[in-house]
């Protein structure tokens, strides 16, 4: 039986604009924060897993070591779209679980301020003589002619498909805006969020339309940020101080899935099946059910995405995500608070940092250190990310006994 793995130290930087810091500076701040939080140093680390999606291929892990300490340990530079941070963490967890390292370090960092719309390539001058090229033998760019490659548009369709399949009528715009209202309201209590402004449904619906029904405040905020975590094996944790053991958070489940083949999954990305599979595996590994969760941080890259993940993570009965939301369950005073951090729509979404920052949020509540936004008595939480392509990370975290 493999050992349990614990989060010993964890840290997230303020999300937002950091014009004076580069990715290495931000990764270093997060990493040193996590090491200090865990009461350990680079000298203790046996493996480093690092992610920086926009700089994938440049070796953020090695650059980080040069900034804070080179010890010759193996580095795994990982990239898995928006699940990059969760992938880095899972890589470190696997190394510790396999007994190859006593301590593992995971970090995710991104500089995205001002990046604008994440879309397909710009359409510049088209060829003077039509020549089929690429996998579809296209003679001209297809983005905008055969559907959309913009992220807000892709996830808008995912939400609309859910509404259609479950026959929730013809006016989902306000429903999605109210989900966004919840997350923006939650963000007012999170000093590390990029945006902390409460917004009314009217303001959200009246803001700039990006891809119906997603207006600008219903889209994840591009920003800069980093997060890092130190993980440790059971047996190593037992040798540490009482304070370190008390604040350690148990990784009750760590799961990564990809999308299995389904009809249409290569036409519109299927973010549902792989999330459902990951949730099932995580609940089984942790020996808990969705009703046991005290809080959930899920991947609300767009307001339209949050709705489908209530269902995918089994927080509600199948097909009942709208009713579940309407019941108030996902507000911070509800039965299953979702995205009390403010979510990606207001906290921000520095891509590779997100899959560790959501773990930080859950751990901070389980440790009872979330101050004004503390979910009282939180003992069990779940963190979820989706990277299109697709990859899904689900972690279930449990307070130390």
């Amino acid at each position: 039986m493999a050992e349990n793995v614990w989060i010993l130290g964890i840290y997230m930087t303020k999300f937002g604009k950091h014009p004076d810091k580069d990715t290495v500076d931000l990764a270093a701040e997060a990493t040193m924060g996590a090491l200090t939080d865990g009461g350990v140093s680079m000298k203790d680390m046996g493996i480093l897993a690092a992610g920086n999606l926009m700089g994938a291929g440049l070796g953020i892990g090695q650059a980080l070591q040069k900034q804070i300490g080179q010890t010759g340990i193996p580095v795994y530079n990982v990239a898995n779209a928006c699940a990059t941070g969760a992938t880095a963490l899972r890589t470190a967890i696997m190394a510790v679980k396999a007994g190859e390292a006593d301590y593992g370090l995971a970090v995710g960092v991104e500089k995205l301020s001002g990046a604008g719309l994440l879309a397909g390539g710009a359409r510049t001058s088209e060829s003077n003589v039509y020549t089929p090229s690429g996998r579809f033998g296209a003679v001209a760019p297809v983005d905008g002619r055969i559907g959309t490659e913009t992220m807000p548009g892709v996830f808008a369709q995912i939400g609309m498909q859910y509404v259609h399949e479950h026959q929730y009528g013809e006016a989902p715009f306000e429903l999605f805006a109210r989900i966004s209202e919840k997350n923006h309201s939650h963000s007012t209590l999170n000093p590390l969020a990029a945006y902390t402004k409460k917004m009314s449904v009217e303001e959200i619906m009246g803001d700039v339309m990006i891809a119906y029904p997603n207006t600008r405040p219903m889209c994840s905020a591009n920003c800069d940020g980093a997060a890092a975590a130190v993980v440790v094996s059971d047996s190593t944790l037992k040798k540490l101080s009482g304070e370190q053991q008390r604040r350690a958070v148990k990784v009750a489940a760590s799961v990564l899935t990809t999308d299995p083949w389904e009809e249409a999954c290569q036409v519109l990305p299927d973010v549902n099946t792989l999330t459902r599979n990951a949730a099932d595996q995580a609940y089984e590994a942790a020996g808990v059910g969705p009703d046991d969760l005290d809080l959930v941080e899920l991947h609300d890259c767009f307001a339209t995405a949050e709705l489908v993940h209530y269902d995918n993570l089994k927080l509600c009965e199948p097909g009942a995500a709208t009713d579940f939301f309407e019941s108030g369950a996902t507000w911070r005073d509800g039965r299953t608070p979702v995205n009390v951090s403010g979510g990606l729509e207001s906290k921000g979404h520095p891509i590779a940092a997100t899959g560790i920052a959501n773990i930080w949020e859950v751990c901070t509540h389980l440790r009872g250190e979330a101050k004004d936004r503390q979910i009282e008595g939180a003992r069990l939480g779940l963190a979820h990310v989706i990277g299109l392509g697709s990859a899904c990370g689900v972690h279930i975290l449990e307070k130390a006994a």
Binding site: L117, V139, V142, T148, P152, M160, H164
Partner: protein, 130 residues
């Protein structure tokens, strides 16, 4: 007559323009571009099959912000063409939620994308309500 070329190779022009797909001969899974093996059953034999030109709009979005050079607004969606899902724009209707409805019946329609220096016209496709 002007020479025509389809926007993509899975659009077949002619008297009745239609889409085609590579269908796995073992399990029937369909793909619009090439596969070495079926993503569903790993079979390696594929046949070219026609896709129904009529369907229902399963999901849509009205894109107001797109990459530079892409005209907006436009309606992007997924059409369930009698069991085969197709990515396409909804065309020949106003791009607003009053005219575009989930579940509405649509059919394939073609339009001119442009003409190149040799006089060849590129023809694209979308789905229109009917």
């Amino acid at each position: 007559m002007t020479q025509q070329i389809p926007l993509v190779d899975y659009l077949v022009l002619g008297d009745t323009p239609h889409l085609v797909a590579h269908e796995c001969t073992t399990c029937g899974a369909r793909f619009f571009d090439r596969r070495n093996a079926c993503a569903s059953c790993f079979g390696t034999q594929f046949a070219t099959v026609g896709v129904s030109s009529e369907g229902e709009l399963e999901a849509f979005t009205i894109v107001s912000f797109a990459a530079p050079g892409v005209p907006v607004p436009f309606v992007a969606g997924v059409v369930d063409c009698r069991g085969t899902s197709v990515r396409a724009n909804v065309i020949n209707t106003a791009p607003d939620p009053e005219h575009v409805k989930l579940g509405m019946k649509v059919r394939l329609a073609t339009y001119s994308v442009g003409t190149d220096d040799e006089g060849t016209e590129a023809v694209g496709f979308g789905f229109e309500p009917f």
